[in-house]
Subunit: 349 residues, 3 copies
């Protein structure tokens, strides 16, 4: 019996199975500093304890995406070590603020299974939850991955495909955001005057700046998240693989796009939910990431007059500035597109 983890194969997953993932992780101001150095985010609430305290937080919360990446990283050894592809994620909600000093752990429940017709692989749907040291769920999301079968002759399980919402309803948003005192939210210090009411559905915003990615950067990030997926770290094996290069963790692209989006969305400081995300094509070191955003919807949150919700679709590209809002070429994505992300952000009214 090997003592090393060879990961789960498709036939190892059962509907209703709950997996407790390894390595709880205390998040610290050290992680926050590294996150700043990796992406350069400038949202005032996450950057300044004083600013956060002024509007009603005890201190700066940890960036939502840092929470996402840490929880996601924990699920990798059990869920996607033998994945052929990450197909998507959705129904993702941030449910409680995380602060430096909190300890995160993760569990996943298998909620869907579908063997592919080739008999070699199947799709596994899991609902993953991140909890803090008090057991409070801080993050809840679904992802689905294509996983290899260990034995092609293993029988196919009964097919279960979960129903997922195309988007979270506005009233499901805001749990991780305390009611804030907007009179004390200093828009000059936050970097822009634009509030919820200033954004219109259909509006498109080019985030202008580009950020080139180095191998050391994405490796630092992915190890910080304790994400062990081999494709990000092992040039020896990847050099002999499909791309001849290390693949950059998709979450790295999301964080880059989010940090670039400050330029145009400076006050949309909290991601409340991710409706869906697709890594359209891979990113490699040496390429430059750009981003643009379309406002899909503007919604009130029942009972809250402090903030409103913007449903945003952020597109990230590689080596392609976004003044022309690149997205599709005919029915397919434009060759430069690497990320298509649909999410809800909250912003003062």
């Amino acid at each position: 019996m090997s003592k090393t983890n060879s990961g789960n194969f498709f036939e190892d997953f059962k509907i209703g199975q709950v997996i407790a993932h390894a390595t709880p992780r205390t998040v610290t101001t050290g992680d926050v500093a590294l996150y700043t150095a990796l992406y350069g985010p400038r949202f005032a609430v996450q950057s300044s304890d004083a600013f956060a305290h002024q509007i009603g937080y005890p201190k700066s919360p940890v960036d939502d995406l840092l929470v996402f990446h840490i929880v996601f990283g924990k699920t990798v050894p059990d869920i996607s070590l033998n994945a052929v592809a990450n197909l998507g994620y959705g129904d993702c909600r941030f449910l409680a603020a995380v602060f430096p000093g909190d300890t995160l752990s993760a569990t996943s429940e298998v909620i869907g299974l579908k063997e592919n017709s080739n008999g070699q692989t199947g799709v596994v749907y899991v609902r993953s939850r991140g909890r803090n040291q008090k057991g409070v769920v801080v993050l809840d999301y679904v992802r689905w991955v294509m996983v290899r079968k260990r034995d092609p002759n293993a029988p196919a399980p009964a097919e279960v495909i979960p129903q997922l919402p195309r988007a979270l309803a506005p009233d499901q948003l805001g749990d991780a955001l305390p009611v804030i005192d907007v009179r004390k939210y200093d828009f000059a210090l936050a970097g822009a005057k634009h509030r919820w009411g200033d954004y219109l559905p259909g509006e498109r915003i080019d985030h202008v700046d580009g950020m080139t990615v180095e191998e050391a950067e994405h490796q630092f990030a992915t190890r910080l998240y304790q994400n062990t997926a081999k494709v990000h770290f092992n040039q020896f094996s990847e050099g002999q693989g499909r791309f001849g290069r290390r693949l950059i963790y998709g979450g790295h692209v999301i964080s880059l796009a989010r940090a670039l989006s400050f330029n145009g969305l400076a006050n949309a400081f909290h991601i409340a939910a991710i409706n869906g995300g697709r890594h359209v094509s891979p990113l490699f070191a040496g390429l430059t990431v750009f981003a643009w955003t379309e406002v899909l919807e503007r919604a009130e949150i029942h009972g809250r007059s402090d903030v409103g919700a913007l449903r945003l679709r952020t597109i990230a590209t590689k080596d392609q500035p976004c003044a022309g809002h690149p997205l599709k070429e005919g029915d397919a994505y434009h060759a430069s597109v690497i990320l298509d992300l649909d999410y809800w952000a909250l912003i003062p009214r």
Copy 2:
């Protein structure tokens, strides 16, 4: 109306105008650890809470240059996004110690304007101030940048050129340094026996070691400072530009030279003022930085018997060891010189 920041152009600046810069920033021990990893500084006061406490600080103060870079970074989106060149800075004083947990914010006042004869650009002089969460000014400096005009036909403003001191007077130094107990300053632990009285004007010190810079390193640093200047990050656009490469933030060179200068200036642990600084030529990744220092002056600080001031001129070079103190070739700088920095450091007597 675009929601993205396109920065200020020359005609947007008015004498007396005060700009509150975005994104206040809480400095943490995470930032300090990253600063150590970026440059490898070894000054005992900034490295050890126990050492700092022993001589009279509550705990280790944040490195002066980390404070400078964070404050400087905040000014970039408003002052130098459309800059053609950073021409210089001076009259820079460190006025209060900064500790992990403090939150820094920045403002700038326009104190000088001079349109260039080509009508395309002008020079803007700003006095920038960094404040902590209590409103105490921790850093005060002037910089001047050449900024593009939006409209070449816009009328030239009245010319105002501020008078700046060639060097701060010794009695203007020391505000950020509590009176220390030199008897409890352990020179062996600090790494050298040399005190204020051991340095002589005219003395030249080769700092010996060289440090090669990687793209990932200067990008990490510049993002950590939330400095958004495009030239440091965007290989896609810079690859088509003047140098064909990303330009390294000048402050990165200052911090490298300062860390190298420990070898010869181990007890000169506090930068009290920067009299002037010039980035003589650009640095690119892959090159190796060396440094040497000339002692320009030695001065007492009125009323203080614990420390004295050394006025230092530190020269940094690229791919050129400094045993021969490279500086000029005829009237011009030696081709290897990248930095010419004139500053006051304090050192136990």
Copy 3:
């Protein structure tokens, strides 16, 4: 008289001499976050304050190897600045847990001297000790280095070669580990079910994963440890040297191998002692590190029923997966081997 440190030469060392090394260093959660980003370790005790507290620590201790690297780094300017080669180390014990906030300093005592027959160099043996701010010894180890003579005509000292144990005795282990409550040690959260009794002498474990190293990564690490050895940082001079490249700090390889070894040794969370270590061949950026481990011994620790000791031999390779346990080719090491490390790890019973 130069104010720069040119390091000690062979004839500067005297038996019994004690050197207090410069720059005490407060270890913070920032350092811990960087350590995680550099290597991706996943041991639950060091990762989660909640997990550590549950079993009996006040909070997560700092990774043993981070302590080792910081203490080691302090010794470099005095011991090995003029070293031709690091020959080995041994008799290394971790004697007290280190926590964020502790300040480490280091001293070394010269315990052996042997001039080489060529008259150009000699071997210096030092016992180095790391202490916390209370003066408690947290780390004690011996290393020996080949150091240049300043003057080949200087007389040879009397030869003294210290006797070192081949391995620490089991009863010398465990001082840095409080008695833990194994009932509260959650093996699922820790990532594996294997306890002390599950490992057998002679067992070989391939740690499977590979990690490619970038220049920026090892430079970040080595500066974080304030290790000033020139060969790691200066491409200008190293480019003209023996390898034409910067050499990676040997401790970086140890930490990579240790982090990879989680896959197979997830519960062996504490390194109690290093019996001996040899850097068999150099590592350079761009190469991929793999590792495998042989269990050499399994030992009880007198008076402790909570944990037992495993004596492990971990081999790291470059660009060579370890499924075949590469080690020797005839009498010599396999060309891929870079590290041969013999150490004691503690693991719940």
